[in-house]
Symmetry: C2
Subunit: 255 residues, 2 copies
């Protein structure tokens, strides 16, 4: 099992607070010691930091924790390996180009018989079930839309239909983004929370850290976080149902 | 204009010394203040650090300088923007998947009429001439070889023929790797040096730094560096000719 963390916001926001909680689960308060990664979007570009070692001991993770990179779209993942060895190429998130956009993805769960899904030109680099089915999703999308589609709502409905197929193969909790939209798919554990004015304080579950968002935000800010398990103890997180998907845009749920 | 730095080695080697020299040129001893990036391979995986701000002032560059990530294959680039704005998506190196491998590329120079080259499915995300022609190269390769080719020598001859075409459009100095081989193409400035036993001391041109490689290496180590301009003052660098290409494997020149 692994843990996922995602953020969609309407203003560039730093994720240091939530990432600090997640980091602890990478080999300290949780068993996810086989690597971690985080991808931040800035415009159409994105930057990833990854390490096949435990996040709680990673020097690069310390940099990310202490250096507030502001972004409107972030995906992070801490890994407990089951399919594929502990290596950089098997570390999430994965990013691929589609329609001149960076598509980034991370997966929690384990799939069987996924190799029966036929791939085209989009091939995995590592050996995980996760990257394999990501390649399959991107290939399916390209086969459905040779050109950037005008109606992104239909695209996410299509991706949900692929996710329903994958769910037949095992556990498929997923975060997927093109930098503008964040799609979340749940089969077992996925929670989300949207923070907007009036903001209040939040207390991390995994570390003795508290933040008063009132002091850090303006009244117009809207920030959604998605996580495998709630990261704060004093806020109400929405639990997603098995087979459910959500899409967020600028922090707001739109599907 | 920009500057390139590449390394191919037969043992995981840190590039901190050479990178320190390059960094200085990013807005301090040189004018390349519009971003920088570096990609390290670890097995089939690779990790990139990038910043659209000057390397001499970048906190992430400081981390890379001080944290010895060991790799057998590295590409780095500092940018002085001409085609495409200063942004993360326009920052080199660029990485794309081909044949289940990460292909990474950086370019120095400026090209005209490159948009006449027709692209297929591999589309640029940013607005640079550099990324556009990288997409073109990858597309051409895929059209020539649908499957991973057995003879990589022929592949590099093929890439050289594409580079000859691009050279007609302007200045095209390039580093390109699939993690195993490093190809270098020169139209104006590109130098390389292979270090092997007996190792000696080296003195950076851009910073008051000296290293005695004898103390840092074993007798079996072979390390090649490729750079736009020599980085050290007391060693003999090979100057490449216009239209010339080299390929390095495990630090040795093979083509």
């Amino acid at each position: 099992m692994c843990e996922l963390l995602g953020m969609s916001a309407n203003v560039p926001t730093d994720i240091c607070f939530s990432f600090s909680g997640l980091l602890k689960r990478g080999g300290e308060t949780g068993p996810h010691k086989d690597g971690w990664g985080i991808t931040f979007y800035e415009g159409k570009g994105c930057r990833s930091f990854k390490d096949p070692q435990a996040s709680s001991r990673s020097r690069i993770a310390q940099l990310v924790k202490n250096y507030p990179i502001k972004s409107t779209m972030v995906i992070s993942h801490i890994r407990q390996a089951n399919s594929g060895g502990v290596s950089l190429e098997n570390t999430h998130p994965f990013t691929r180009q589609l329609w001149g956009q960076n598509w980034t993805y991370a997966h929690n769960g384990q799939l069987k018989n996924y190799a029966d899904l036929s791939l085209g030109r989009m091939l995995p680099i590592g050996q995980t079930d996760s990257e394999y089915v990501f390649c399959w999703i991107i290939e399916q999308l390209y086969q459905s839309y040779n050109h950037p589609p005008a109606n992104m709502h239909l695209v996410f409905q299509k991706i949900a239909s692929y996710a329903h197929t994958l769910r037949q193969l095992g556990v498929f909790n997923m975060l997927l983004t093109n930098g503008e939209y964040m799609m979340c798919y749940c089969t077992t554990h996925l929670y989300w929370i949207t923070r907007s004015a009036p903001f209040g304080p939040a207390q991390l579950i995994d570390a003795d850290m508290k933040v008063d968002f009132q002091k850090e935000t303006t009244n117009e800010d809207v920030v959604t976080l998605i996580a495998t398990q709630p990261l704060t103890s004093n806020e109400k997180w929405h639990k997603m149902q098995s087979g459910e998907f959500c899409v967020f845009h600028l922090g707001q749920r739109i599907l």
